[in-house]
């Protein structure tokens, strides 16, 4: 840890706040992408099964 002198609080707060916001942005984007992908795959699977049962 470097010696931040008088401004330790400010520098650490800037880094902690920004990195937390970036983590929320990246984590939120990944979570949202996975959720939509799972829902779409489930819907497509259900459709395929329905069309197969109609065909059979």
């Amino acid at each position: 840890m470097p010696d931040l002198g008088l401004y330790t609080g400010e520098v650490l707060a800037a880094y902690a706040g920004s990195l937390a916001l970036l983590a929320v942005l990246v984590g939120g984007s990944i979570w949202q992408a996975r959720r939509v992908r799972r829902r779409l795959e489930a819907m497509e699977r259900a459709r395929r099964e329905a069309s197969q049962s109609h065909g059979g």
Binding site: G5, Y7, E10, A13, A14, V26, A33, R39, L40
Partner: protein
């Protein structure tokens, strides 16, 4: 060589972005980790700003990318209005939360830096005010997408909002040139060696800039893919309701 417009086809975009995404995400992680560790641990204090100069590695790249994100949304919105490519409208929508987060980081780190350096968290300076208005435009843009159910109408109206907001995106970048007043100092990055930051700060800053750029690209690609899937999902649900 393939035409750029081929990627307006959702299937082609999905295939292309699937190949590009791991590279952009990997480069973003590498540049951000390297740049931030280099800047935080291995650069000296500035003779005037002390250790607060280390905030530059977050503040400058996020501020630059906040404006660039809006300009990217503007280009995508114009493509939507002129050529009606859905992928471009969805890319603009996908970029908005990323731009919002970058604007918030720029405002937050600016305030944290400003308190010890200027003696105030906030000043109604032309650049700061334009940036705050840009942030409000980002929020308004996202709210408008949420408020309108019909996606094409939402894309049309948000494109107009994006065009209006571009004025503030440009003002926030060039406020100092336009008004030549206020607390905010001139650009930290310049081609003029006299005004550019010293090399000891410049090199890690360049790496952080690349990191924020790649992060933006990775997130926009990922979120656009999510928006394309969400659109398909909604279309399937709508068809089922009609059947």
């Amino acid at each position: 060589m393939a035409s750029l417009w081929e990627y307006a086809n959702p299937q082609r975009f999905m295939a292309f972005s699937a190949r590009l995404l791991p590279w952009t995400a990997g480069l973003a992680a590498f540049c951000l980790v390297t740049g931030l560790i280099w800047g935080f641990f291995f650069t000296p204090d500035d003779f005037r700003q002390g250790s607060t100069v280390k905030i530059i590695y977050l503040h400058v790249p996020s501020a630059i990318m906040a404006v660039n994100a809006w300009l990217m949304m503007l280009v995508a919105s114009i493509i939507w209005v002129v050529r009606r490519h859905h992928v471009s409208a969805l890319a603009a929508k996908a970029a908005a939360p990323v731009g919002t987060a970058f604007t918030l980081i720029a405002l937050y780190t600016g305030a944290v830096w400003g308190q010890p350096m200027w003696g105030t968290w906030w000043e109604w300076d032309p650049r700061l005010t334009a940036f705050l208005i840009l942030f409000l435009f980002y929020l308004g843009y996202m709210a408008l997408w949420q408020a309108i159910e019909e996606p094409d109408t939402a894309a049309d109206l948000t494109a107009i909002l994006c065009l209006v907001g571009s004025v503030f995106a440009i003002i926030s970048r060039y406020a100092l040139v336009f008004w030549n007043q206020g607390l905010h100092q001139g650009a930290s990055l310049s081609l003029d060696a006299e005004t550019n930051v010293h090399n000891v700060f410049w090199y890690p800053l360049l790496v952080c800039l690349a990191g924020f750029g790649f992060l933006f690209l990775a997130l926009v690609l990922s979120r656009t893919r999510m928006e394309i899937r969400a659109r398909r999902l909604h279309a399937m649900i709508a068809r089922e309701r009609l059947a």
